[in-house]
Subunit: 219 residues, 2 copies
């Protein structure tokens, strides 16, 4: 697959500081979004910025998130500009100077005015993708969704047209004259790990975790 | 230590949805902030919400974060209301119904109008706490900070007076009639792990990682 550039970055996605960290290509942005479902959705509610953690998922060139139809976040973000940020912490970067202390990370910032998905069948189709994105095939194993549940679930989406990524990888970057300084420098890697599934004590007899659960990865 | 209530939650920190998840006690809020340095700072810049990941640290009843003195985030948040959110993902909660799919998590939301720390000695004292918070004793091992570096570093702080926490722990919560449904339900634990330190290839000869690095924990 070749890399396809997104639309030219607007002034608000253009990364002003640390320009060398900025990446705008689709593959980079999509890989970060796909690796980390937790997003922080920022919106303005009665003049006040609010940042709400939520779960995002991607289909093609759009991201989606869902919430309670009557919740503050879904009502406020359905009408106004948002900034959705995803970030993954990859390590502590211990430099020779405190000023160069850093973290290795991958982050994406998406701007736009979300659209609500209103058609019930489309909502069901998207929720299936959301659930199956964690555990392939899970949707069809679950107690079927009800009309009331679909109605109580709001889904918002944003096109990935105004998005940027920031990455930092690799060893510390110190001032040239500091490399001789006698202190250990390096990276302490940090990553998300998945543990052993913990069955619900109220599970029906004989049920087994789906085989596809074992392949779940995050980060 | 007994638990001390923060000031009564204001309408914006009062958690409207999922009220049963909301905790306002200091110990809970401080433990989450101390476990996760990555914060998402939301602010309004020319009418647009922006969410910037940054590193926060706590001293007593205040949190701090730093950035480039001339950066967009530090300039914009030094003048206006922010919402700073910290969240830790603890697991996937696989229920019997898609509607009850959830995550176990710990989150904190802090509101307020940040104050800039301007006095250079106080900035140095706070930056030492920041660095030593990751690796105790590290500040004194580093190449000493310069006046220019201190001037180029802006530090903002917020009192933890308007803060709330949300937590979800434990097994799925399904509708009573769904517990007999023949599908595996349970929790897939997720956590942050720290790897083996990777030395900078340009390290001076004979330097060793500080012993306190081994005790670093996150999440």
């Amino acid at each position: 697959m070749h890399q396809t550039a997104l639309a030219a970055p607007s002034s608000r996605t253009r990364v002003n500081r640390y320009r060398w960290l900025a990446h705008y290509d689709k593959d980079t942005i999509y890989a970060i979004l796909d690796a980390m479902p937790v997003a922080n959705v920022g919106y303005v509610h009665e003049g006040q910025p609010i940042v709400t953690p939520t779960l995002q998922w991607r289909e093609g060139d759009r991201i989606y998130w869902h919430g309670a139809t009557h919740g503050r976040m879904m009502k406020a973000t359905g009408e106004a500009e948002v900034c959705l940020t995803v970030s993954i912490l990859d390590g502590l970067v211990l430099a020779r100077a405190a000023y160069n202390f850093n973290i290795n990370h991958r982050s994406v910032m998406v701007f736009g005015r979300p659209e609500a998905v209103v058609e019930p069948d489309e909502k069901v189709r998207l929720l299936k993708r959301f659930v199956d994105g964690y555990v392939p095939g899970q949707w069809d194993r679950l107690r079927p969704v009800t009309e009331q549940e679909v109605a109580a679930t709001a889904i918002l989406s944003l096109p990935l047209t105004e998005a940027s990524a920031k990455l930092r990888v690799g060893p510390p970057e110190d001032n040239e004259e500091d490399y001789a300084f006698k202190v250990w420098a390096g990276v302490l890697p940090i990553g998300l790990t998945v543990g052993v599934p913990v069955p619900d004590p109220r599970n029906a007899e004989g049920v087994e975790p789906p085989a596809s659960l074992a392949s779940f990865r995050i980060g």
